[in-house]
């Protein structure tokens, strides 16, 4: 097929990808958007089959391509249909890795195929960057997957002696390889690219192992961005606008999500990447904060409190998902609604283990999406809330973030549950969250602590409401 026609087809798929992302601006249009994206991919693949260079490869190339697609498609389909919603961060980590890996491989193939031609400097630099970023994304994502899945590596940061220096030297050596690629003859270039890939894979591991398990949402978002940038670099290698446009869209998406996650965790990106963790400047001790002020409560007492409540806000933390209590919480919400209470869910940006994760987990439990309120939207309404029920969340509802400028979480955006008339906190004990500091919310006059496992507590609460 004519090259211009093929490029027009790529333009059509780029437009369809843009419409796909635009569709994601609302749940109503999101499904159609995703289908448009898939259509865009189909258009791009069909156009490429019609490309002179692919047709020139004959039946043999055609069969090989379809065979490889069948293998990848089967693996992808199995992953997509089997994966649990709680394991979605692992799935996205893997996809990030495959995306980065594919870019590095395609750039390498283009370099090996140059043969006797004299490639331009921009081609060689783009190839080097594609390999470097793609390789880092691949190995970094495998490490992120492993940490999330808790297979081999511990969740806590791993630091070698002089870790930052070793990482910096590795990445700089990778950049030096790009210089070598631009200067060498055909064989030297391929050799230098091979060394570059090894350095990139090492760099990806070094960059990801110091990131703690709790910081993984940032790591996944950042790797998502890298995979997009690698694809865009590959677009420069092949001078292919479809790759450049798509890679930029994905790169921008990852960067925005990284920023959102960092802000919500009150951390700088540098702080997350270097695995610094939160520096605990010990404020008031737990005994000072809690002594004599914590009031324990029972299911029966909460049931009385909820009877006649006009507005209830439920604040889920990741602990809720771990105990698979989403469905029980939905039953509680339905029961309260049947008694005329307005029930909403307050979702902190880092409530799950990746951006938006908690929303997916609650949607899976058939909770209507218009009841899932993001932090900025629901915070002003806590003053008119009769009862706020906090389940398995801690640091994200700690009022110290607002009041104590010396606290490690100072300035972190939190859900203002303390402004509700009554706060019920369901928690096993008074143990601290990731930040390692006591939470004065638990000792407030309007707070009642219900010490129990999340799922059991909600089940007992439902029984108590039905008995009342």
């Amino acid at each position: 097929m004519n090259l211009s026609l093929i490029n027009l087809a790529y333009l059509a798929s780029a437009v369809l990808f843009i419409l796909a992302l635009k569709g994601l601006s609302h749940p109503r249009t999101a499904v159609r958007g995703n289908l448009l994206g898939a259509l865009g991919m189909l258009v791009a693949i069909l156009a490429t089959f019609a490309d002179r260079n692919v047709l020139g490869g004959g039946t043999e190339a055609f069969v090989k391509i379809l065979g490889a697609m069948a293998v990848g498609g089967a693996i992808g389909a199995v992953l997509a249909t089997r994966i649990q919603m709680t394991a979605m961060p692992q799935m996205v980590a893997l996809l990030n890795g495959f995306g980065g890996g594919a870019s590095a491989l395609v750039a390498g193939a283009a370099l090996a195929d140059v043969g006797g031609h004299t490639p331009t400097a921009t081609f060689l630099i783009a190839t080097g960057l594609s390999g470097l970023i793609g390789g880092i994304t691949f190995s970094g994502s495998i490490i992120a997957f492993d940490k999330l899945q808790e297979m081999f590596l511990p969740g806590k940061p791993i630091m070698l002696p002089a870790h930052q220096a070793i990482t910096a030297v590795t990445v700089l050596a990778g950049l030096a390889m790009i210089y070598w690629i631009t200067g060498g003859d055909a064989d030297t270039r391929v050799l230098a690219y091979g060394v570059l890939i090894l350095l990139a894979l090492t760099g990806g591991v070094l960059l990801t192992v110091p990131i703690g398990g709790a910081d993984m949402p940032v790591a996944i978002a950042l790797l998502n961005s890298y995979s997009g940038i690698a694809a865009a670099a590959t677009g420069f290698v092949l001078d292919n606008n479809a790759l450049i446009i798509t890679g930029s869209l994905v790169g921008a998406s990852g960067i925005i999500l990284t920023q959102i996650m960092c802000k919500a965790m009150n951390r700088s990106l540098m702080n997350v990447l270097t695995g610094g963790g939160t520096v605990s400047t010990p404020g008031a001790s737990a005994d000072d904060v809690y002594a004599g002020k914590v009031k324990a409560t029972s299911a029966e007492e909460i049931a009385m409190l909820l009877d006649g409540a006009g507005r209830v806000v439920i604040v889920p933390g990741y602990g809720l998902a771990v105990s698979q209590a989403q469905h029980t919480v939905r039953d509680l919400a339905n029961l309260l609604e049947s008694k005329g209470t307005v029930v909403e869910f307050a979702i902190h940006p880092v409530a799950g283990r990746m951006p938006g994760h908690m929303n997916v987990l609650l949607a899976e439990a058939d909770i209507s999406y218009d009841k899932l309120k993001e932090m900025d939207e629901i915070n002003p309404s806590f003053q008119e809330t009769d009862v706020a029920i906090v389940i398995g969340a801690n640091d994200v509802v700690n009022p110290l973030a607002r009041t104590d400028p010396k606290s490690p979480i100072a300035g972190m955006p939190i859900l203002d549950v303390d402004k509700a008339r009554t706060v019920v906190v369901i928690k096993r004990s008074l143990s601290p969250g990731f930040a390692g500091i006591p939470n004065p919310l638990f000792a407030l006059d309007n707070t009642l602590m219900y010490f129990a496992d999340g799922k059991k507590a909600i089940t007992d609460l439902i029984a108590a409401i039905k008995d009342a």
């Binding site: 992302l21 249909t81 331009t120």
Partner: protein, 92 residues
């Protein structure tokens, strides 16, 4: 160089479009956004197909592995996004 400036123009404009689009995606849908963006970044499959068709046997092998990787992204990404989006329902 002319080719490069043309590609750079497309790149810069696409980054701006990307920022405009993504800031309009609500946090509610950030997880499907990540899986969906991975699906479309499987567009590298196009470059991988071209690599397979070249006469260089080494390029062909790299291209084949790249097709497997990219197709996992395309099929896995679109399917899992579809599965997730299907869960977002509005009652009454």
């Amino acid at each position: 160089m002319e080719l490069f400036v043309g590609a750079l123009t497309v790149f810069v404009l696409a980054v701006f479009v990307g920022f405009e689009l993504i800031t309009k995606v609500p946090p509610l849908l950030h997880t499907p956004l990540m899986s969906g963006s991975n699906a479309i970044s499987g567009i590298t499959v196009v470059g991988a197909m071209l690599a397979v068709a070249t006469p260089d046997p080494f390029s062909t092998v790299l291209g084949l592995v790249a097709i497997v990787f990219a197709t996992i992204n395309v099929v896995g990404g679109f399917l899992v996004t579809h599965r997730m989006l299907g869960m977002f329902k509005k009652k009454d």
